[in-house]
């Protein structure tokens, strides 16, 4: 092996890469937020909707959780123009990530709703709680407790998933690493640094979500 490491050629690009990391966090955040809404609607449909709608939700969840995100985005990116819908690469990626997240978040939220025990509600009713009090003191704390850890985990998984956006030319962390690589070909150094940044990023995100859960909701969640 006669390769000499040239970290110097790469370290200058660290701020640029770090900016990419922020875009990754942001992309994951938007995708997560939209996915939460989609997931909540679907979970509600699963609980209260008509049979046909429930079937549709089942199909959506099982399709999106059993096929690769990358192919889902390819399908949107190259397929939608045929249907007269034109999305730029960032939009296509965001739509793909959101729909994918929606499927997982449907399942997570549904499991959470199902775990609110009838007996707990009955007990609260016997104690003379009003409907609002019941939601405030029984349902919400319970949901927070059961949902916080799986949701936090999924967010971290999504942060890692955003690297797919690079394939569509979105300049997040992986995309920027590819850009730098195209300039100076110090591939090993660049991808070591990018990998290190993902590790740091997800550890920081895990830690923040853990502390946030602890201080905001008094939940000791095992986060990724």
């Amino acid at each position: 092996m006669n390769y000499t490491f040239q970290w110097g050629q790469v370290t200058g690009h660290i701020p640029y890469l770090a900016g990419g990391a922020m875009i990754a966090l942001q992309l994951a955040f938007f995708g997560f937020a939209i996915g939460m809404v989609v997931g909540a609607l679907c979970a509600a449909t699963k609980a209260y909707g008509p049979k046909a709608a429930r079937r549709l939700v089942d199909a959506y969840v099982s399709f999106f959780t059993n096929t690769p995100l990358l192919v889902q985005i390819f399908f949107l990116y190259y397929g939608l123009p045929d249907a007269g819908i034109f999305l730029d690469s960032y939009q296509a990626v965001l739509v793909g990530i959101s729909l994918n997240a929606g499927a997982y978040l449907t399942e997570i939220q549904r499991a959470g709703f199902m775990s609110v025990r009838r007996t707990e509600l009955d007990a609260a009713a016997t104690l003379g709680f009003s409907r609002l009090q019941m939601i405030r003191y029984v349902v919400v704390p319970h949901l927070l407790k059961t949902l916080y850890a799986p949701l936090a985990n999924h967010y971290i998984v999504m942060v890692l998933g955003t690297s797919i956006a690079a394939i569509f030319g979105v300049e997040e962390l992986t995309g920027r690493a590819l850009n730098v690589n195209a300039i100076n070909f110090r591939s090993f150094e660049i991808f070591s640094i990018a990998a290190g940044m993902y590790i740091t990023l997800t550890i920081a995100a895990s830690a923040s979500l853990y502390w946030f859960g602890l201080y905001a909701f008094r939940i000791k969640a095992k986060v990724f």
């Binding site: 059993n66 399908f75 797919i164 394939i167 992986t174 690493a177 591939s187 991808f191 997800t202």
Partner: protein, 230 residues
């Protein structure tokens, strides 16, 4: 939309295209099975190495933890590129399929290690005490009583993890492995609509994932006795 699909179908589902897709399915399955098989093996090895009741040499445990924490926090795409460029740097010209498999193995080992660990930790410590005072070795204890009790905790996330690895193989298209996603892109570039090209492989992925999920469920039925199922 369906009209164009039907119009295009005879041109798409030709013998040659099917052979092409079959090759691609083969490569997807090779990466998935080799990756998951080795991943299960190494994952169990890592979980065992970091278990305090089994390995008493702390630095060894730390190494296992380090491996797991590093590799489960790197996106598969970056892992692929990293493995790809590392071998290039070492002067090996490794087959792209092997590069893809190695990346999947690294990822699967670290994820599956966590599943095994959660399972092992779910078993009450008094089971280890009982085995230890009877002079059962740590590995005997693991095999004879701990793992059998841990399957209900290990298997459900493991099935999800296996499906995840099948899906992750799609990223190997980026280093030109002729697997399903790469094949679909080629077909798309040769003029077939994205609808039919990507639609077809989505269905194939779905069927494979579904099969693995069924397999997982049947393993669960076999390994978890009726009265201890969650």
């Amino acid at each position: 939309m369906f009209a164009t699909l039907i119009a295009e179908a005879p041109r798409f589902f030709t013998y040659w295209n099917m052979v092409f897709l079959a090759t691609a399915v083969g490569n997807t399955l090779v990466m998935a099975f080799a990756g998951c098989g080795l991943g299960l093996l190494f994952g169990l090895g890592l979980a065992v190495t970091r278990a305090e009741r089994i390995v008493h040499v702390a630095p060894l445990r730390w190494l296992a933890i380090l491996f797991v924490e590093v590799f489960r926090r790197i996106p598969v795409l970056v892992l692929l590129l990293f493995v790809f460029f590392t071998f290039q740097l070492l002067g090996f010209s490794l087959h792209a399929l092997a590069v893809g498999t190695i990346a999947i193995v690294l990822r699967a080992s670290s994820l599956f290690a966590e599943n095994f660990r959660a399972g092992i930790e779910s078993v009450h410590p008094n089971q280890w005490d009982a085995a230890e005072v009877m002079n059962l070795s740590p590995l005997q204890t693991l095999r004879l009583t701990v793992l059998p009790q841990a399957w209900p905790v290990i298997l459900p996330p493991m099935t999800i993890g296996l499906v995840g690895m099948i899906k992750a193989t799609s990223l190997a298209s980026q280093i030109s492995v002729l697997e399903l996603t790469f094949a679909a892109r080629q077909l798309n570039q040769r003029g077939f609509s994205a609808l039919i090209a990507f639609g077809t492989i989505l269905v194939i992925y779905f069927v494979i994932s579904w099969g693995v999920a069924r397999l997982g469920a049947s393993v669960e039925r076999r390994l978890v006795p009726q009265h201890r199922r969650a």
